[in-house]
Amino acid sequence: MTREEIHAGVLECLESVVPELDPKSLEESVPFREQLDMDSMDALNFVVALDERLGVAVAESDYSKIATLESCVDYLVAALAVTEKRP
């Protein structure tokens, strides 16, 4: 899975929890929970969606590492052992 595919997958997972999400207005480095007014149930549902769609069960102790779009994608890239291909 490429970084772009993971990025798209994370957005899909977020959208499953926050249906009115506008991906264009989402800031990459601001925590989701602040930006999208998510409560702990939303956050858990997001983690469940990541597990179901991308096959990564994020440990509770790692929740702080997936708080923003940028860090979440980084974390999943590492977890899925994807080599980043940059020009």
Partner: protein, 369 residues
């Protein structure tokens, strides 16, 4: 013959629009079965029937808006309550678990719900599943309709809160609880659980409130006329914020008798249905107390307003680390402020204080919840 009427799902509800019948003439219904879906200020609600029998006639067409109390159907009573030795039990009608939004969208798109794999709680088909099948985001609720819904929901909340503040002499108490044991217990319990089975502190708080209420039945009561009447079961109304504004407080039934995992699953299911649609009529009318967890939104403590005819509401603030004195030493501990607003006509502060202390003691030993 029994008449099935448009129920009142709150003192402020004057009418509802029948969306769909789940039963047809000739179908058997048992007490507690879902018989119809009704569109109200609080969203699409699935209505339960409290008579057992056979549906004789349906009197109102889907799409019709009728006042509360209007007869919607006639049910021939008692026919199915007497089991006979010869006749096999009627096969239960196979009803696909699907949220009202999913059902509506499926009907619009001509999708057979039976062919959709549900990803919601308990395999329920939710909107996204239907959308995924047709490949692409489906039509959202038209903005005007959503706006009108939110105006009506605001009005319903206003009516309940004005009545509460006008009629109920509230008293307020607060206690700050060390939730170190809860957080540690949850951390260990969740280590081995897949995400879908993890527990949240909210489930622990709800269970603790449920158990404490069993010992303080005067707080698990409804104010009726000039006195408080204790309720036989503990049904906790859970304050759930709706994304485009407003709040609903559907009941999680018999919280005191469920395991923690069951409370958690029930809570997930309730939050999903509050936001997707699909709450049941009983859930909107039979809460015996309410719990609000505004700590989720970052506040330290909440001073809540009682939802009539209930006589108490419990609030939890955010879980935050604070310097805390334990056996003469200052330690950093996660703490939460639990508050109680109660009806002074029904109880006194002394009782309320004992109740909060009981919750605190229960939270000291989460493994026993």
């Amino acid at each position: 013959m029994a008449e099935f009427r448009m129920p009142s799902l709150g003192a402020d509800m004057v009418s509802g629009r029948l969306v769909e019948w789940f039963k047809q003439p000739g179908d058997t219904v048992a007490r507690g079965d879902l018989i119809a879906e009704v569109d109200t200020d609080k969203g699409a609600i699935e209505i339960e029937v409290w008579t057992s029998g056979i549906v004789e006639r349906l009197l109102v067409e889907p799409g019709t808006k009728v006042p509360v109390g209007t007869v919607l159907a006639i049910i021939r009573e008692g026919v199915v309550t007497e089991p006979t030795a010869t006749a096999p039990p009627p096969a239960p009608a196979v009803r696909i678990r699907a949220s009202p939004l999913a059902r509506k969208l499926a009907a619009e798109l001509g999708v057979d719900l039976a062919s959709v794999k549900g990803s919601g709680p308990g395999g329920e088909v939710v909107r996204q599943d239907v959308e995924a099948l047709r490949g692409g985001a489906g039509p959202r609720q038209p903005p005007a309709e959503a706006e009108e819904r939110s105006v009506r929901l605001r009005r319903a909340i206003a009516a309940a809160m004005v009545r509460s503040k006008r009629e109920i002499p509230h008293y307020y108490l607060a206690t700050t609880v060390d939730v170190g044991p809860v957080m540690e217990w949850l951390r260990v319990a969740n280590l081995s659980r897949p995400p879908a089975e993890r527990l949240l502190p909210s489930a622990v708080f709800l269970k603790a409130v449920g158990l404490a209420l069993r010992e303080f039945p005067d707080l698990n009561a409804w104010w009726e006329g000039d006195r408080a009447v204790r309720r036989p079961d503990v049904h906790i109304g859970v304050a759930i914020s709706i994304r485009n504004g407003g709040l609903v407080t559907p009941a999680l039934h018999r919280v005191d008798r469920r395991t923690l995992a069951e409370v958690m699953h029930g809570l997930q299911d309730l939050v999903a249905r509050a936001r997707e649609g699909g709450l049941r009529s009983s859930e909107l009318t039979d809460a015996t107390v309410t719990v609000t967890n505004l700590g989720e939104r970052g506040v330290d403590a909440v001073t809540p307003v009682i939802y009539p005819p209930q006589v108490a509401i419990v609030g939890f603030g955010r879980i935050v680390e604070r310097p805390w004195v334990v056996q003469g030493k200052v330690l950093v501990r996660p703490v939460v402020t639990a508050t109680l607003a109660a009806d002074h006509r029904a109880s006194d502060g002394h009782l309320g204080g004992l109740f909060l202390a009981r919750i605190e003691r229960l939270l000291e030993e989460p493994e026993k919840l």
